[in-house]
Symmetry: C2
Subunit: 735 residues, 2 copies
């Protein structure tokens, strides 16, 4: 049993399904009253009971629950029938509604999803049509369900105490937070389990094989390939386990879709909004300049900071060097988030301009754009070091004096900013240091940012608010406390709801992106530092728990959505694995002797040998991936068996039903036997005569009435023309 | 209307569906009689009417038709219900059998397929269990349907007169010969239409751009990619048009499958034969040594002949040179078919050893093996010339003197077998000549072999037989003529059936393979000689008609099978397109100046530049292919629309049916309204008192009875805490 939460406000959710926050801070009183009235009317009209309470700073909290369970059942049943028609479930739910729900009870996420759809679906679809922060309802600030604090506490406590998550743990997430979030946890858990292998091998390889080992490179690539293919397989299994297979085919419309004209759908005959695909394709071609823009803008920033850093650390030799060395990092940490935000906004607008019809298509296209930005910010620094700085460093460094401008104010002599007479030497440790930075330091910083910073922010914000109101109270102009008029038995509860209403909304794709980008470091660069996977292993154990904590404490309870895949991130995963086969082989080739050729200089590298290595490695990878994917596709799994069993039973039932009609007709087998009754002599010539006037075909078929006659005639023919030598042979045998 | 065929035997098929040839040449008379009797009994038991007649040289012809149409309808209905359950058709056929067949009449191929299955399916599946040339029925030599000669004649006449085949022509093939053969014709027709583009561009490019033009290479690669992806799209469309989508999921068992043990199927609970997939995987690994064996054996032969040819044509300078030059061709044409046959037999055994459960899996695996053999025999000679002879010729030729042994008997002086003092020069025309040979000469020879040789063989064989029987008649030991005892009204018909019984069985994969291999020349090497596509265009116009002729004249009428794809050849097509992106770029790079570098020698080629070109080209290809496949997937087609419309109608119907139950329950919308009836005062504190003992949750929800009360309470809250500044702003606006 879950322990009782300490705070009285956490003890009950008051049967509330959703809380809707209506903020009237910027609306005239009269208009706010009207809007609010039509809001609750719309909710009431779809059968939702409402209660209103005072909210924080000019807002109202509308509490929503279903007026009668009986009607909710109807909605659930409707949703299940739709699932069946789209192939999400094998069999139609039993026609008797209550029976259907008793044989397969609703789970929490299903219930919350259906109520959320009831609130947000358009009126044509049978919902109340409340659109968050949009159009008519632009003052509806948020719609969120209340956390189940008792359950959350138990969840966090349990996870903190176990090493590995069981499938039941994931089922639990699915039941409460929906399949989309459960897929994130399932993926991260699968990735965590997979990491055990490269971590163990990497650990051994670090001490036994050293850096840039080709053996490690091959094993790591193979493991990454197996993981990617295995996850594709696993995804299907989970979809079956959670009953959401094919759910992505039930497309929900993109609200922002703008039709060009209305056409008659050739399929359904209905009038539908239409936007020509060719026009969209033209717009999609803008992604090419967009990608180039991202690469140029971010690439220039990264390359510049990189150049400054090399100049200061390797060339500059004047005062304040130890401080100035952090200058590029400073520039990067300041400018990068700004540029990223600008580009992300740009990507959003571009995506909007591409005008997708369904939400899924919109999300996929957006994810792809985000991946481009993230790819550049995450991997370009290392790529620059590995494939520009080390091989071409000695060629490029003389040109770095353009960066002397950054240190000019500090340098005392011109000489301090010039290359040492001994000439420049590349620093082979730089690459390793960089990889370690990205795979250890950055991960820890990231984890901290995710959990600790929001916590501090929240605490600080609360304190600030308290101080503010205290000061206001001193000055006499006290802002009335939102909870001042609460009824005593509700006060604790309402205070808690007001807190939850101010939390952020959880976006699972951010977390998923983080994992996929982390996988990229493993696939692309871990050959530089084989302990990469060990670091990730530790990090992800914490990450899983930190994310659980984040969802339960830092965020509003997320609306449970369904999904049957991690979506476009799967493509990113496959792409990173592929690219890994190229970078890894190139890194091994270039650096197996710390970037130096056999004669000690990096110039000895033969271009054709490098390219041949890459080509060989890439094609070997493609071949192996093909083999692995075939081998894995043969693997059976409980989910697949379950699916096949369900399909088999449904088929069997339908087949039996459909063919019951046929049973009444005697089958072909029986028809043959009754011909024996009136058998006449064989090859009866008289029969021919009676059929004198009939068709030649009928005569042909009338000569032998049934198989017995055919057999006799055949026996006669055999007798007449059987080869004599066989008989002789046979008789000889008998002697 | 079809013209009446001249020969009286061709006028009617006597309503015969199938002819079964039972040969008792090697069986003892008694046993033959028994076997024959049980054969006709088995046929009779499944409701087939039989007639027996004398066949050629110790054989019997058993004519088979369905005893009653009524029962055939039952079988057809059963088959259609199964199709529906496997998703081949969207809706279940109407329950009333006759109605079902009237609303959608049976087509000839469907009828023949169902009767063939009735004859050959095992008894457990409701068939007669006749296995061709196998087990109990090893003396059943063939089962074939009779040609519809009137229709065939019309078919050939029509096709000879038109340039392009219409979709209706393909429908006609599908209706009579089944979908599998129709797919071959549809593919060849699509390929023919596609060839118009590269032929036109190639023709222009031949005169304007010359050989090894990079423009031609890019356009040709793009066209090939578009064709491959388009065909994938087209295939689905055809499958819908012909109602065979997903038909490949109805797996038929591989008869040769040998179980390792019997296990309980976790899905159906039935006892099923089982062979572990891991064991099969182990056996499949034998394909690697097999491929190496093929490459070694065939490669050695080809390389040897190649070496001899070069030695004789480029080095040898003695007598009989003009004759000796044909020596390698002689060796090749003698040894190649022998080796191919040996390797194909080996492949068959290997495939058998791999022990596939379904016929489809068996065929796919076999096709892959055959493709390996054909790939080597078809493309290795050109690959050797392009990538070994030209770049490394001058290095290798000195070692060719080992082949002097082949001309030793003819050479007069040692000098005649030595390199000229001036040194060896590669012959840059060799590659082009070879490509022209393979794309023109070999194609014509092949067409001739396919049509004319069998015709001559058949005529010659008939003549030989006639002479033999004449000689036998002279010597008195006359073999009795099979038709001697024929009834006069049947004689012509029976003579014709005896002729058809001796024809070969048509194998569509051979023809399909030919087309795919031809496509390979276009994709891989056409940059050498841009007229390639023109030659193929002409050839394939003839090929289509020659194949029609071959099926109607040289072959027994093929059993109509269903298919929804050209199967594994599609993968071969994709592979050849991919490989084309590599060979084409390499050829352009190497030969754009006839194989000579800027300084006139082939040594100037830079390895890294070649590899970089190939890599760039290959990755560009992969990117373009991805784009093309996405673009094509967006294209709608009549077939897809039809499918969606059917699915939509079925869904709509089911949805309406399932939800009719629900209609009786008032929807959530209605439930809300009746609460208005007994409305009481707002925020009635008395209400709290009456609920004094109830749960805190119930109290919470009892405070506002319906949305009107909520609206009023909300209005009060807004009034109390609405921000004053908004009001001021609003009033300012009013002023």
């Amino acid at each position: 049993m879950a322990p009782e939460p300490k705070s009285p406000g956490l003890q009950t959710n008051m049967d509330v399904e959703y809380v809707i926050v209506y903020r009237f801070a910027k609306v005239e009183k009269q208009k706010a009253t009207e809007e609010f009235s039509s809001l609750v009317e719309a909710l009431g009209n779809v059968g939702l009971a409402t209660e209103v309470r005072n909210g924080e700073s000019h807002s109202l909290l509308i509490f929503v629950k279903v007026a009668s369970e009986e009607h909710l059942f109807g909605e659930v049943y409707r949703s299940r029938v739709r699932d069946w028609l789209y192939g999400v479930r094998a069999a139609a739910p039993p026609k008797e509604t209550r029976g259907a729900l008793e044989s397969e009870p609703m789970y929490e996420a299903e219930r919350l999803r259906i109520i959320f759809q009831l609130i947000t679906n358009s009126e044509a679809e049978g919902g109340a049509g409340i659109t968050l922060k949009e159009g008519k309802w632009k003052n509806v600030e948020s719609i969120f369900a209340l956390h189940d604090h008792a359950h959350n506490k138990e969840w966090i406590n349990q996870w903190a105490r176990k090493w590995f998550l069981s499938p039941e743990d994931l089922d639990d997430i699915r039941n409460r937070l929906g399949e989309k979030i459960a897929y994130y946890f399932a993926f991260t858990q699968a990735y965590f389990m997979f990491l055990l292998a490269p971590a163990a091998f990497g650990f051994a390889s670090y001490f036994l094989l050293g850096h840039y080992s080709s053996t490690y490179a091959i094993v790591n690539s193979l493991l990454c390939t197996v993981f990617t293919e295995w996850w594709k397989h696993q995804e299907v299994d989970l979809a079956v386990r959670w009953g959401v297979r094919n759910v992505s085919q039930i497309a929900s419309r993109n609200r922002e879709f703008k039709q060009e004209k209305v056409v008659t759908d050739p399929v359904t005959g209905e009038q539908v909004a239409f936007f020509p695909a060719t026009k969209r394709l033209q717009r999609q071609f803008l992604q090419v300049p967009f990608a180039i823009l991202c690469a140029t803008v971010l690439g220039t920033l990264i390359a510049t900071c990189f150049g400054i850093e090399i100049f200061i650390s390797e060339v500059y030799n004047g005062p304040l060097k130890s401080v100035l060395v952090f200058l590029p990092t400073g520039i990067l940490t300041t400018c990068m988030p700004i540029l990223s935000t600008v580009l992300t906004n740009f990507a959003t607008q571009l995506n909007h301009f591409e005008n997708y019809e369904t939400q899924a298509a919109y999300d996929t296209a957006f994810t792809q754009k985000i991946f481009v930005i993230n790819f550049i910010t995450s991997y370009l620094p290392i790529l620059l070091t590995a494939f520009v700085y080390v091989p071409f460093g000695t060629l490029l460094v003389p040109y770095l004096d353009i960066f002397s401008v950054t240190v000019k104010p500090f340098a005392k002599h011109q000489k301090e900013m010039e290359l040492p007479a001994a000439g420049f030497e590349i620093n082979p440790m730089r690459l390793r240091k960089q990889v370690i930075y990205f795979t250890v330091t950055a991960q820890i910083v990231n984890l901290g940012m995710e959990v600790i910073v929001p916590y501090l922010k929240r605490k600080g914000f609360a304190k600030f608010k308290k101080m503010q109101s205290e000061r206001a109270a001193k000055n006499g102009g006290a802002v009335p406390d939102a909870g001042a008029n609460d009824l005593p038995d509700e006060h604790a509860f309402l205070t808690r709801v007001r807190q939850e209403s101010e939390l952020d909304v959880y976006d699972v794709t951010t977390d998923l992106r983080e994992m996929v980008l982390q996988f990229g470091y493993l696939s692309l660069f871990s050959v530089v530092w084989p302990l990469t996977a060990c670091s990730f292993l530790a990090n992800n154990w914490l990450e899983l728990r930190a994310d659980a904590l984040k969802i339960t404490i830092e965020m509003q309870r997320p609306t449970p959505w369904r999904a049957d895949t991690i979506g476009p991130w799967l493509d990113s995963l496959a792409f990173l694995t592929w690219l890994g086969s190229i970078t890894t082989s190139a890194l091994v080739f270039l650096f197996s002797n710390d970037g130096l050729g056999p004669d000690g200089t990096p110039y000895a590298i033969k271009g054709w040998a490098l390219l041949a290595t890459i080509m060989f490695s890439e094609h070997l990878f493609l071949l192996v991936r093909w083999g692995v994917s075939i081998a894995i596709s043969k693997v059976d799994s409980p989910g697949r068996q379950k699916e096949r069993r369900e399909r088999y039973l449904v088929r069997k039932q339908y087949f039996d039903e459909s063919l019951s009609e046929l049973e009444k007709i005697p089958s072909l087998k029986d028809a043959a036997t009754d011909e024996n009754i009136t058998r006449r002599s064989l090859e009866d010539e008289a029969r021919d005569a009676t059929l004198g006037n009939s068709r030649v075909e009928d005569k042909f078929w009338a000569r032998q009435r049934n198989w017995r006659e055919t057999a006799k005639v055949g026996a006669g023919l055999i007798e007449r023309s059987a080869p004599t030598d066989v008989k002789e042979r046979e008789s000889k045998k008998e002697l």
